[in-house]
Amino acid sequence: MSQSTTQNQTSLPLHRPLKLDRHKTHHSITIRRSPSEVYEFWRNFENLPRFLKDVIDIQVLSPTRSRWKIKLKSGLTAEWEAIITDDEEGKQIAWESLADAEVETNGVVQFLKAPAHRGTIVVLSMNYEVPGGKLTEWSTFFTGEDPDTLTQINLKRLKAYLETGEFPTVEGQSSGRREEEKPRITH
C-alpha cells in the first residue's frame, strides 16, 4: 500500500499500542492539521519544549538520541537520555529512556488520519517510573498537576499552537491583585 493511500484512510477505531505498567497515561486529541504536518512538528524535538509545560529543554544529540530536562514541583529538575526506537514518517514515533536513566520512561505517539476533514488524531501513550519518590514531584511550578493531567494539558497546548499559532494565556494580564496574591489554579 502506498504512503498516500494510507494517509487518506482513517485509522479508527483507536487502539492502545503499549502494554502498560503501573504509571501510565493514554490520551488522544484531534488537531485540524494533516498527519504529516503534525508528525513533522513533533519529530523536530526542539519544538517539544514549546508546548510541553514540564519540559525545560531537549537537546538533540543525534538523529535518534536526545537529552531531556524537566522541572519538578519543588524547583528540582530531572534529566535523562532517550533513544528513538521506532520512527515511521507521518505515522508514529516511539522512544525509551536509556538504561540507568534517572527517569525510566517509554512511549509512543501516533498520528492517525481523522474522519472527513477533521485533521489528525494524535494518540500519546507513556509509561514513566521515577525512582526515589520523585514522581509526585513531577509537575510544574504554576499548577501542581500530576503527570497524567499534565499530558492532557500538553496535548491541548499542542493543538492550540498548531491550529492558532499561539498558546492561550492570561499570564501577565491586569488585575486588582498584587503579584503575591496571584491565583494558583490547581487543576
Partner: protein, 390 residues
C-alpha cells in the same frame, strides 16, 4: 487604569490596576469607550459562579478603539472602532469553522478544569471566572482582546456606541434564543424574564416572524417595555397559575416555543422555587431552576424550549418526564456571538431595530459599584446600565 474588580460576594470596587499589554501575537489593546453590566454579571456578583478570584476584572459587553495590535493581526487596524463579543473564539478549530464560537477548543487556558466539570470545555469568556479562562474583562479603561481578528466587529463611522454596544452579547443572545425556537408563521413564543435578554428576544421573535409573544415577569416597568414592542404580558404576582394562564391564552394548545431568559437565579412563588432558595442558601444546590421547570411544563407538544439563561451546575427536580412525554426539543448554550454580529449590525443600520431602547442608566466608571447594587436590588427602575468610559 481604572477597572471594576470583583472582591467577593456582592462586593465590587474600582481599583487602579496596570494597563493591559499585548501577551500573544494575535492580541489587540482596546481603549474602551462604552461597556455595560450584564444580567449574568449578577450571577458573579451574587457568588453563584465558582472559581472567581479577588481582584478579577469583570465585564463582557465592551466596545472601543483599537490602540495597538500584535504582530500577527491581519484584519483589525489601530484606530478601528470595534465591538468585542463576550465569548472568545480562535477562528480556526473545528467548532469555530462551524460558527460555534462559544464552543471554541483553543481559547480557555484552564480548559482542563471545565473538562472535568462538564466533560469538555467551552471557549474562554471575558471577565467570567477562571473556569472560563480568567480573562480580564471590559469594565475598565482598557482591555486586551486575544485573537482580535476573530473577536471583533468593526463599526462603520457615524454610528453611536449605544446603538451597537449590545452586539457584544445581549442582542445576539436574544436573537439566537429566538432563532433556536424555529419560529413558523402563526407561532406563539412565551418568554420568561423581561430583562435585557428577554427584551431582545421579544423583538427578535417578531423579526423572525412570530405571530404572538407572551412575556412573563413581575416588574411592571419591564413588562411595559415588552408591551411597547407588541408583546402580551403576564405578571406572575397576579397570576394563580402561569401554566393555566398560558394554556388559556393559547386556546388550550400551549406556546409553540418557550424561552427561559432568566437562568439560574429564578424568583417565584411556587413550592419548588422556595425550596430552591433554601437549598441554594445552604449550598445544597447550585442553581435555582424554577423557570426552566415551568418552560418544560408549559410548552406545547413537540414544541421547543430555548434556554439563553445561564446555568452552572447540577439541577434539582427537572420535569424531564414532561419533556420526554411531549417530545420537546431543547436548545441552549452560550451564544455564538461572532456568527450574529455582522447580520445584526445590518439590521441596526437598516433601522429594523435600535437596541439602545433597553438602556435605563448611564454611569461613569467611578459609579459602577453603585450601579451593580442598583441593578441587583432595584430591577423595577434599573433594566440596563451602560458605562461611559472615554
Amino acid at each position: 487604569m481604572k477597572a471594576l474588580c470583583w472582591e467577593g460576594k456582592q462586593k465590587v470596587s474600582i481599583q487602579n490596576v496596570p494597563d493591559p499589554k499585548i501577551l500573544n501575537p494575535h492580541d489587540a489593546i482596546v481603549k474602551v469607550t462604552t461597556a455595560a453590566i450584564c444580567g449574568s454579571d449578577l450571577h458573579l456578583y451574587d457568588g453563584y459562579i465558582p472559581t472567581m478570584k479577588k481582584g478579577d476584572i469583570l465585564g463582557h459587553e465592551t466596545m472601543g478603539e483599537v490602540m495597538e495590535v500584535g504582530p500577527l493581526v491581519k484584519k483589525v487596524k489601530v484606530g478601528d472602532r470595534i465591538v468585542i463579543p463576550f465569548d472568545i473564539g480562535c477562528g480556526s478549530c473545528e467548532h469555530c469553522i462551524n460558527e460555534e464560537f462559544s464552543a471554541c477548543d483553543n481559547t480557555n487556558p484552564n480548559a482542563i478544569l471545565a473538562d472535568k466539570l462538564y466533560g469538555y470545555s467551552g471557549s474562554g469568556i471575558f471577565g467570567y471566572s477562571h473556569l472560563y479562562g480568567g480573562y480580564a474583562g471590559g469594565q475598565a479603561e482598557f482591555i486586551r482582546v486575544p485573537l482580535v481578528d476573530t473577536n471583533s466587529l468593526v463599526i462603520p463611522k457615524g454610528i453611536e456606541d449605544e446603538r451597537v454596544i449590545f452586539l457584544s452579547d445581549i442582542f445576539p443572545t436574544g436573537y439566537m434564543a429566538a432563532e433556536n425556537c424555529n419560529i413558523k408563521p402563526g407561532d406563539t413564543v412565551a418568554i420568561w424574564g423581561a430583562g435585557p435578554v428577554g427584551q431582545m428576544a421579544v423583538r427578535s421573535a417578531f423579526l423572525l416572524g412570530a405571530e404572538r409573544v407572551i412575556v412573563i415577569d413581575h416588574y411592571e416597568a419591564r413588562l411595559k417595555m415588552a408591551e411597547e414592542a407588541g408583546a402580551e404580558t403576564i405578571n406572575f404576582d397576579d397570576s394563580a397559575s402561569i401554566l393555566e394562564e398560558l394554556k388559556f391564552r393559547t386556546g388550550g394548545v400551549g406556546p409553540d416555543a418557550c424561552i427561559d431568559a432568566v437562568g439560574l437565579e429564578a424568583h417565584g412563588h411556587t413550592l419548588t422555587a422556595n425550596l430552591d432558595r433554601i437549598k441554594a442558601a445552604a449550598f445544597l444546590a447550585t442553581d435555582r431552576p424554577d423557570v426552566l421547570r415551568q418552560t418544560l411544563q408549559a410548552c406545547k407538544k413537540c414544541g421547543t424550549v430555548s434556554v439563553p439563561g445561564v446555568y452552572g451546575g447540577v439541577l434539582d427536580k427537572i420535569p424531564f418526564g414532561a419533556a420526554f412525554g411531549k417530545a420537546l426539543t431543547i436548545k441552549m448554550g452560550q451564544t455564538h456571538t461572532q456568527k450574529y454580529m455582522q447580520p445584526l449590525l445590518e439590521k441596526i443600520i437598516d433601522g429594523k431595530i435600535d437596541p439602545s431602547f433597553v438602556i435605563t442608566q448611564r454611569v461613569k466608571i467611578e459609579h459602577v459599584p453603585e450601579a451593580y447594587r442598583l441593578f441587583s436590588e432595584q430591577k423595577e427602575e434599573c433594566i440596563k446600565v451602560v458605562i461611559d468610559l472615554h
